[in-house]
Subunit: 548 residues, 2 copies
């Protein structure tokens, strides 16, 4: 028999999962909550809703229609939030421009996304003006003066507030296909050119719903209707982790800090009563340092950390100040959030044990399917020990790299999204990230985690700094090599290093193959522009050595 | 320009929103949690998952395939939960049979849903055996012996546990269209024959996700990963309000009480540590009475109340025992949940004020759009005073009454689902139900709430019982008539009743038209079989009087 279907009533509403539907309850349930921008703007939700209509009418007058790409270059603001909603609600596509990329790459991303209208904060005018000659598709530029009295520059036809003031609030948003693209942006991989990803209305709505449920899942401290939200992840970066959509759906008070500045952030937090933020570890460190300098009380502030690993010590530093620090996991390709660290009241975890549970990638968000695969693509057990590439399914993962069929096929090889991260899945379901796939050492059919080996070797007094990388080996495939900077006046030998590794192997901390083939001593390790050890350069140098 | 789409990678996973996807995280995140049935069965989630495969294999052997209707007649049990998942996961349709309907109607619902396989608890065997001669489509009956040693009756080919024991756990569930029907059942309206509704996989998944998020939205006490769940709304009744799907998605400990029996319910609550249940007011009253008799401590038990209005006094009675009592709103046509009462920590509500906020239908669940319409279908303001018919949009509302085009068109007239409930929407977004549409009195273009008028009139000492109904009026459309039973030895006059109503009108409690045209005194009011005042019979009697 075929699947069973019913004939809907003629006028039954089909309810597409579009971004505009997230607003259904928020105007009512916001109950006087405001959307705040620095000390400059305070909007109620009904005012916010009216501005969405004005923005859409104004953009429409500039030629924006269904399918048009509207690029935004702004700091975190109520305006950005307005664009998060109004642009997709028109059936147009918002491009959230990474203004931190080198100018040539910014221009490239605008061209590849086919941006036709640019909304540009005055701070980014020089960048936009340099780009415009190379962007023949652009038919309108809107200046964001951000409260400054300034003449309209030659490239811009109108200022953002003037555009809204002169436009009707009565834009007739209409329903359309939930599978239409709503947002687009570019990954900022450390290697190669940025790749373009895009997300549909359906994907954003499902990411919002599933993460809203998951966010209430942590002992003692969830994210809910009583919270005051302030993003500390830029809004050009993967939808500010999708939280502005959740916060708006719930009608929360929201605070947008503009350009990140520690004093402004701390002032806003104190004055507006911010209770929930999210950021990368670097921003948390910056906030903690600034708060110590000023004597701010940070207690009760919940901070969700992603982007790179949250260390136990940073988590502890936040906790010592009364903050609630938890990790999450995701990437540009995944909208982004696929897991949250969480703890359970019944476990009664305290101190180090609780911290250990809060710094892992955590429990998959509802609907997320996660597996770890070995090098041959076979599923590994969720035993907390078997390491493999983390692959994912969820209704909100980018379905391709736009215009790059080969990279898209690699991303989705076998029907699962390949994260390029090496992970274990614990018996309790939580995901533990171990290494980037390109840094893991494939030796004798096992995957050796470079990060774990480095931690063990760094334990030796004679080792100042260490990186473990794989070099090609005819028998093993790859063998680990330890590249070390010796402590002053000390020597490091392979025997000594392997003796320490053997103890870790005997203790069950490492695979039995986790011994180094040799030790290379260097004066200093090569670093990338952001200060990470450049393993790609190390592998290249060692391979050249081997060939010589 | 057209809407923008991207070309997915060839192997990109399309991720249909099907019921089986709710299991993605639960097996891992259940962390040893069990699914408990009375004192008879304890299953871990991996065991539960294995039984789903066995059940599907067994049903497949009985001829169940995509599109087959499988009817379940059981008390609340782990088996019912297994059917909630395994049957739809096969692409088949689960019919949750309301075993409390009169036998002739049970047979009618089985015939109209085209049930081909029946799963029947031994308690319902006589009913099934009487029905079978009238159900030529039925090709297999599975007995649910529920632990009893009993011979297989003539009608049944196999017992449930034997079916599972003899079947492979390795059923190959496959993906299919999320718009396929997953569940079907019949409304139990007080008038007319039951009407058939159905829900698709997509609808159930979205109901689950949106309500999971909403359930964490109440001050102090949400519904989350630390809860232990026990339904006290029958699983044949609108998916037990959808909570078994939420609880399973979150991997919670679940407790199924079988046939409702106060002692068993209280024993299970205490022994298994149940923290979250939901029920109609009658069941809560029953539980409270039984607990008082036994001296049970009910503190910490959260109970979500729906089905009929939660009164302030019942809410208070629960609170006095340390329970958390909140109302919700929904109906068979709406999957069911569309709103939850909630309070906010920052409001600092206490005592009566908090109770008043907890007994309303409450705040719309995310994605739900709610309006109140006047008799001409115009939207009324959300001012807490304007009464109109509550109409809804959400992605999980039944899209028709199966096989009844006229009723379907009326249900969805104008593109909104008509609830037939008269409500106000408060400025804070919460919904307040006032009356059933058929009981409201339409007089001079205003809607008079019969329930509110009755409350005012009942305030008079000389009034024992009162019902207010509308009778046709050439000038006003309808005018209210108060039908009263006088207190012993007292007389009731229209003047006295209207004098009391005038005071309420002056106080702003009632519309200025809320005066009665006349008072009819009766010895007793007609009642329905469940003890409610039969207003339909009253209206009929008064109309006959008027025509005479």
């Amino acid at each position: 028999m075929p699947l069973r279907y019913v004939e809907p009533a003629a006028e039954a509403y089909a309810f597409p999962l579009t971004v505009g539907q997230l607003l259904n309850g928020c105007l009512l349930s916001s109950r006087g909550n405001e959307i705040v921008y620095r000390d400059q703007v305070r909007l109620t939700y009904p005012q916010f809703r009216e501005r969405l209509g004005r923005l859409a009418s104004g953009l429409s007058g500039l030629g924006v229609e269904e399918g048009t790409t509207v690029a935004v270059m702004d700091w975190d603001s109520h305006r950005y939030l307005e664009c998060y909603f109004a642009v997709p609600m028109m059936g147009a596509v918002i491009q959230t421009v990474n203004v931190r990329l080198p100018p040539a790459q910014v221009i490239l991303t605008l061209a590849r996304a086919e941006a036709e209208v640019l909304l540009v904060h005055r701070d980014f005018l020089p960048l936009a003006e340099a780009a415009l000659p190379q962007l023949p598709r652009v038919k309108a530029v809107v200046l964001i003066a951000d409260g400054a009295e300034m003449p309209l520059p030659g490239c811009a036809g109108v200022e953002y507030e003037a555009l809204l003031a002169g436009a009707s609030p009565g834009y007739a948003f209409r329903d359309f296909d939930e599978n239409a693209v709503a947002t687009t942006f570019f990954t900022t991989g450390t290697t190669g050119l940025p790749k373009q990803v895009s997300f549909t209305h359906r994907q954003l709505v499902l990411h919002t719903l599933a993460n809203c449920g998951a966010s209430g899942a942590t002992r003692g401290r969830g994210f809910g209707v009583d919270d005051v939200y302030m993003p500390l992840t830029p809004m050009f970066h993967v939808h500010a982790w999708g939280v502005p959509y959740i916060a708006t759906m719930l009608g929360l008070k929201q605070v947008y800090p503009g350009r990140y500045d520690p004093a402004t952030i701390l002032d806003l937090r104190a004055r507006e009563g911010v209770t929930y933020s999210h950021c990368v570890p670097t921003i948390l460190q910056m906030v903690l340092a600034a708060a110590d300098g000023r004597g701010d009380d940070l207690s009760g502030w919940m901070m969700s950390i992603g982007g790179s690993a949250l260390t136990a010590s940073l988590c502890q530093e936040g906790r010592r100040r009364g903050m609630h620090i938890t990790a999450g996991y995701g990437m540009s390709e995944t909208c982004p959030t696929v897991s949250h660290a969480r703890t359970f009241a019944r476990d009664g975890l305290e101190g180090e044990a609780e911290v250990a549970a809060l710094i892992v990638a955590g429990a998959p968000v509802p609907l997320v399917a996660a597996r770890v695969l070995d090098a041959e693509g076979r599923e590994l057990p969720a035993d907390g020990r078997s390491q493999g590439e983390l692959v994912l399914r969820a209704p909100w993962l980018t379905r391709c790299y736009v215009g790059d069929a080969d990279a898209s096929d690699a991303l989705w090889h076998g029907g699962w999204l390949h994260t390029q991260d090496v992970a274990v899945i614990h018996p309790d379901g939580s995901i533990g990230i171990r290494d980037r796939l390109k840094d893991v050492i494939k030796s004798g059919g096992e995957w050796l985690c470079s990060v774990t080996m480095e931690g063990v070797i760094a334990d030796l007094d004679e080792v100042g700094e260490v990186a473990v990388v794989g070099v090609p080996d005819a028998h093993w495939g790859e063998r680990p090599v330890a590249v070390v900077v010796a402590s002053a006046g000390q020597a490091v030998t392979a025997e000594h290093v392997n003796a320490r590794l053997d103890r870790a192997i005997a203790a069950g901390e490492l695979s039995r193959y986790a011994r180094v083939g040799r030790v290379e001593v260097m004066e200093a390790l090569p670093k990338t522009s952001v200060g990470k050890i450049d393993k790609k350069a190390l592998r290249h140098a060692l391979a050249v050595d081997a060939a010589a």
